[in-house]
């Protein structure tokens, strides 16, 4: 007897058409008709937090035109992949009277679809393989996201992200792995283009060359970009002398995306020393002007 996922918790599908899931980095209030998440991630009100959602789907039997329903199903995936920096591919469904459509949102690329009739002889294998990848994302996930710990009360998750650094020991270069715990998502945008995720742990004690790393930024960039953010920050701005008021990049790594996903971009991970709050969170115009004045005068020390 072969065991499948006997040591895994149960993946549960629920009808969530009238429910708003919590904890999305963009605060979206969109409501997928179908949601799948592991059993321990569901709240008592049949909602979960977006970073725990494994699948979002649309039931096409409810009003709306077919085209609108396809757009709706894809919009759920847009939000799902924004909520899941740990996944390269997010999975979704569109079910109708005639068929079931499997949807795959590929970060930095777009949505690919495959529709099968309910009576299709290959349906059972497709559904098996599809659900298999929900249990075990395999190459659909970024293995550097080591753990994800949800806090259903606070509506957020904390990731442990593994970074690798190179050090010289006795003239020999060695690669070391560092686990950066308790990083929470701050910002996410443009999931099918330059897909960018920013995560932060203001209380981090991870040090790179003696400097504390508090922010990690993942962004999908072209393999041969005209400008590299890390180079600009580390060499052009802060060399030979540190410039106050401009964030410092203290870590950089290029991460290749699995070949079968055929994404033409590369994930650039930058570690930043300083963390802060969005400029739009400054409460008054006066304080905003003071901050801008200080930055321009070079008085603001981050």
């Amino acid at each position: 007897m072969i065991l499948d996922f006997h040591d895994h918790s149960l993946l549960v599908f629920k009808s969530t058409e009238n429910k708003v899931h919590r904890g999305h980095v963009t605060d979206t209030e969109c409501r997928p008709d179908i949601t799948a998440a592991f059993v321990e991630h569901w709240g008592t009100d049949a909602t979960t937090i977006w970073p725990c959602v494994r699948l979002a789907g649309e039931d096409a039997s409810r009003g709306k035109s077919k085209e609108d329903q396809k757009k709706q199903a894809m919009s759920y995936l847009h939000y799902l992949i924004l909520a899941r920096p740990d996944l390269y591919v997010a999975q979704g469904l569109l079910i109708s009277e005639e068929s079931i459509m499997l949807l795959f949102a590929i970060g930095g690329k777009g949505v690919r679809r495959f529709a099968v009739d309910w009576a299709h002889t290959g349906l059972y294998k497709l559904m098996y393989a599809f659900i298999y990848r929900l249990y075990d994302p395999g190459h659909f996930e970024d293995p550097s996201y080591v753990t994800m710990i949800p806090d259903l009360q606070a509506n957020l998750v904390a990731y442990t992200i593994r970074i690798s650094t190179k050090t010289q020991v006795g003239g020999v270069e060695k690669e070391e792995h560092l686990d950066c715990p308790d990083f929470t998502p701050l910002y996410a945008t443009n999931p099918f283009g330059t897909r960018t995720h920013i995560l932060s742990n203001p209380f981090s004690d991870i040090k790179i060359n003696g400097k504390v790393l508090t922010v990690l930024k993942d962004q999908l960039c072209r393999p041969d970009p005209r400008f590299e953010e890390y180079t600009i920050l580390a060499r052009h701005i802060h060399m030979p002398e540190r410039v106050p008021g401009v964030v410092e990049a203290i870590y950089h790594k290029s991460i290749d995306i699995p070949v079968p996903l055929e994404v033409s971009r590369v994930k650039q991970r930058i570690g930043l020393r300083q963390s802060g709050v969005p400029i739009t969170s400054i409460p008054t115009l006066k304080e905003m002007l003071e901050v801008i004045f200080d930055v321009l005068e070079g008085k603001l020390i981050l």
């Binding site: 393989a129 190459h139 079968p260």
Partner: protein, 94 residues
């Protein structure tokens, strides 16, 4: 919009699930529930219609969620159990 998958083999390649893992069902391709149950095709269609009319104990697209949960539960347990559950899953969809 990206190019959609044209054939199921492309989807399997993309999912990257090993062939041997997919060999889970005792189902013979082309077989359907009408044959298995001995019902005529017309009778099976009537039954299917009755299901669509709202029998909550049967699988139709409208209670796809229960079907998915049964498959998910089966996959969490073991392969033999998965075979049984997939059989039920199919039985109810046809």
């Amino acid at each position: 919009m990206l190019k959609d998958f044209d054939i199921q083999e492309e989807v399997f390649d993309f999912l990257g699930v090993a062939d041997e893992l997919l060999e889970v069902s005792p189902k013979v391709p082309g077989e359907n529930s009408a044959k298995r149950s001995g019902k005529s095709r017309g009778k099976a269609k009537e039954t299917a219609k009755a299901k669509d009319d709202g029998d909550p104990n049967e699988f139709t697209h409208s209670n796809f969620i229960q079907a998915s949960n049964r498959l998910s539960e089966a996959m969490k347990k073991d392969r033999e159990f998965t075979c049984c559950l997939i059989f039920l899953f199919l039985n109810d969809f046809y």
